[in-house]
């Protein structure tokens, strides 16, 4: 989880990036029909057409207002199809997306604040979204099921954790903490696509703005890591922690309910796998993620498992297009798994050693193994869509 001030932007950008990827792979279906002129002003958001054929859509945006604006295409439930930020006064921008038939909204946000000025639009027809390899559709379906299963299996584990917190049982809560995060960590890129849930449940202390971690004002800091601090740093649980435990369950139930609707594509699965390794490379290898509990290796393992799941589902197609890559990935996944096994006695359990006990040499070795896997993994999306 990244700092709060970036989180919303990041989540939106992730979705945009995934959408853009889809767009690029299927732009053969592009045509002039799909171009919509959007004229943004400080008080208006005019679109040149409110109905357009589904498929490749291009927004030609012109900001004629005096404020910096941003423009979105939104699903009816406010999820982002694509967006472009920081469109300065007097400037033009193009945004493309692959849009299925259905109802959408185009929103301009002068000053980049609020809900924006919205226009209802409709994508019509059977759509010109290019046909996809049925094996990839199957992979997406399987991955969606996986993401749902992870969420479903997480809820009872989080409830065990929350109950222990509410009972004031520090030891039981500590024990339940890391296991309650595994499902989330396995599917984090999907969870992050809902920009509002991630900051609520997985924000770290360094994600807070200055002063927000102050005892009186840190009401904005919720989620696992806030409780982690109470348990390991403070060593005691307060009434506030009980509230936070309930809140965590509520927020994760929200995730459980929405995960099935996440936009998932073969390339977003592939790049999601790489993003899980990026999470490891930036947050776990350094010990930043679990700075109080030092349970980083549990998250680490879960991230790798999630990446491996995506990879395994895409492997048959990728192996046809780039057999050398899948050979390399098989080898590097195995190498990283073997390395991680050094840090747990029971290879079926998640009882990893405290990250504090992993010395500089061990961390370097883990970092090298992550780089060795993540670099070829960054080529998976291309191998899937070739």
């Amino acid at each position: 989880m990244r700092p709060l001030r970036f989180s919303v932007v990041t989540a939106a950008a992730t979705v945009a990036a995934l959408t853009a990827v889809t767009g690029c792979t299927e732009k053969s279906s592009a045509g002039a029909d799909g171009v919509i002129a959007v004229t943004a002003t400080d008080t208006g958001c005019e679109v040149s057409k409110k109905e357009f054929p589904a498929g490749h859509v291009e927004l030609d945006i012109e900001n004629k207002g005096s404020k910096v604006t941003e423009v979105y295409i939104l699903f009816p439930d406010d999820r982002v199809v694509t967006e472009r930020e920081n469109i300065g006064p007097g400037t033009k921008q193009k945004v493309t997306a692959e849009v299925k038939a259905g109802e959408y909204q185009i929103a301009c946000k002068p000053g980049m604040k609020g809900d924006g000025i919205r226009q209802d639009v409709t994508a019509t027809g059977s759509g010109k979204v290019a046909e996809r390899d049925p094996r990839l559709d199957k992979a997406v379906a399987s991955y969606r099921k996986y993401a749902q299963t992870q969420a479903d299996e997480t809820i009872p584990l989080v409830k065990v954790f929350a109950e222990a917190v509410k009972d004031g049982d520090v030891e039981a809560a500590k024990k339940a903490y890391a296991p309650s995060r595994i499902g989330w960590e396995r599917t984090e890129p999907v969870a992050e696509s809902f920009g509002d849930i991630d900051p609520k449940v997985d924000l770290r202390e360094d994600g807070l703005e200055e002063g927000r971690a102050d005892e009186n004002t840190e009401k904005d800091w919720t989620g696992w890591h806030r409780l982690e601090r109470s348990l390991w740093k403070d060593g005691k649980l307060t009434d506030r922690d009980s509230e936070l435990a309930d809140q965590l369950v509520t927020d994760l139930e929200d995730w459980q309910n929405r995960v099935g609707k996440a936009e998932i594509t073969p390339t977003s699965m592939a790049n999601g796998a790489k993003e899980l390794l990026d999470e490891v490379a930036t947050g776990k290898v350094t010990g930043e993620e679990e700075r109080y509990s030092h349970t980083d290796l549990v998250d680490f393992k879960a991230n790798v498992e999630g990446a491996e799941e995506s990879y395994e589902l895409l492997k048959s197609v990728a192996a046809e297009n780039d057999p050398e890559l899948t050979k390399e990935l098989d080898q590097q996944f195995a190498a990283l798994d073997t390395l991680l096994d050094k840090y747990r006695a029971d290879k079926t359990g998640y009882d990893f050693v405290s990250y504090e006990k992993v010395g500089a040499d061990g961390r370097k070795e883990l970092s090298d193994a992550v780089n060795a896997l993540a670099e070829p993994l960054s080529q998976l999306a291309a191998a899937v869509v070739k």
Partner: protein
């Protein structure tokens, strides 16, 4: 990766420079004359500051090549046990080095490729000139414990002995192999190491690396000797890139230096890299007289004690017995001479607020046993030792040059060993 055959992406200034061949290089050099304001007026290389240095040759570039302004040096550990995989990486590295030293992007470039994949080239050198980038590879003693190479380890590739005053940090020492990237533009040097490290992930990992600036020695005697961070000129009589006879005598490994098993080193050289931390603050509090006595030169002109000009022949006996120049001079070491190619470094400050700075010393020689080792032993009594500390150390066998487009770094070594890749 098939870097060699892939089309070059649109990288305007670098590409056009190269695309025009010889004429382009000449034009680029002319253009560089005005643009390379960073090149000092005494810069020996000013006429060609932006151009490309030939990658192919009998010897690797980056040794006798006129010293560039910037350095990024990286030592790597080998992670793979698979000889074929390692050889494939060396070939990929060679292809990437061939392109980068010519000012071209790696592989299929930094943009314009598949939207779904990260670009082959990281892109930060787009639009920059070749900047006389040289990439020089070396093989450390520990490499020869792998891949059945033990018999090919040259005798001259010794494990360096413990020297008096050494306080070596393991994390800044050793390495199975190294890449020395020198360029007139730091971004070009960093780009090269970054891209090679990326290609190497899984096969090798960076063990340590060092950035350097302000070359502290010159291989072009017509230029002024650059100063080190102590403010002194040092290494005035360094071997020049044009001194064929001295290079042959002191730097290049000759046919007589090798046996059948180490013949792959013919035309190569041995590199010693030392991270020498300077105690800058105490040095700066030292009187001028003491500073000059320690070096055996005056601070202004750089003239040896009792002489008027920097290049006047030093009279060693006029210097204090522990003066640096006196101890390091070939006359005090049975003629032992090395080619110095060091750079200053400043890695910010340490936790005590002291400048973490010094000299990243690079010495090339025909045989370390008659080059660096006796000189460094002699320096055990160097008065300078009060103000410096050797904190990192490594030694590498630097193979001969890559001959042509079909050749690759390490080919002679890997072809010579028993199990051919």
């Amino acid at each position: 990766m098939n870097a060699e055959d892939s089309p070059n992406p649109p990288t305007p200034s670098r590409r056009s420079l190269i695309g025009w061949g010889g004429a382009g290089l000449a034009l680029g050099a002319a253009a560089a004359g005005g643009a390379v304001a960073v090149a000092r007026t005494d810069d020996d290389a000013a006429p060609t500051a932006g151009a490309a240095v030939a990658f192919h040759g009998t010897h690797q570039a980056g040794i006798a090549t006129a010293v560039q302004d910037r350095l990024h040096f990286a030592a790597f550990d080998v992670k793979t046990d698979d000889r074929a995989e390692f050889v494939a990486m060396l070939k990929d590295w060679t292809a990437a080095a061939r392109r980068m030293t010519a000012g071209k992007a790696v592989g299929e470039g930094a943009y314009g490729g598949l939207a779904e994949a990260p670009p082959d080239d990281t892109g930060e050198a787009l639009g920059l000139r070749p900047s006389r980038l040289t990439l020089t590879i070396g093989f450390g003693p520990s490499l020869f414990d792998r891949f059945g190479l033990a018999e090919q380890r040259p005798e001259a590739l010794v494990d360096l002995p413990q020297f008096a005053g050494d306080n070596l940090d393991k994390a800044r020492s050793g390495g199975d192999l190294c890449i020395q990237a020198c360029a007139d533009d730091p971004q070009v040097a960093v780009h090269a190491i970054r891209n090679l490290a990326r290609i190497g992930f899984g096969k090798v990992s960076v063990r340590w690396s060092q950035l350097g600036f302000g070359k502290t020695s010159s291989t072009t005697p017509e230029a002024q000797t650059p100063r080190n961070l102590m403010g002194f000129k040092d290494g005035t009589r360094n071997i020049a890139g044009t001194e064929t006879a001295r290079l042959k005598k002191h730097v290049w490994v000759g046919e007589k230096d090798v046996d059948e098993k180490s013949a792959w080193m013919t035309g190569g050289s041995y590199l010693v890299a030392r991270r020498i931390r300077m105690h800058i603050e105490t040095w700066d509090r030292t009187s001028l007289q003491e500073q000059e006595d320690i070096f055996g030169r005056d601070k202004g002109e750089g003239a040896p004690v009792g002489k008027a000009k920097e290049r006047d022949e030093p009279f060693l006996k006029a210097m204090l017995p522990d003066a640096h120049v006196r101890l390091a001079h070939p006359d005090s070491n049975d003629g032992a001479t090395i080619l110095r190619r060091g750079y200053s470094f400043t890695d910010g400050t340490d936790g005590l607020g002291r400048l973490d700075a010094g000299l990243f010393f690079l010495a090339y020689q025909r045989d370390v046993r008659t080059g660096f080792v006796p000189i460094q032993r002699k320096l055990a009594t160097d008065a300078l030792n009060e103000y410096i500390q050797h904190v990192g150390s490594a030694i590498f066998a630097v193979p001969p040059g890559v001959r042509d487009a079909d050749d690759w770094w390490g080919r002679a070594l890997f072809s010579a060993s028993t199990t051919e890749a």
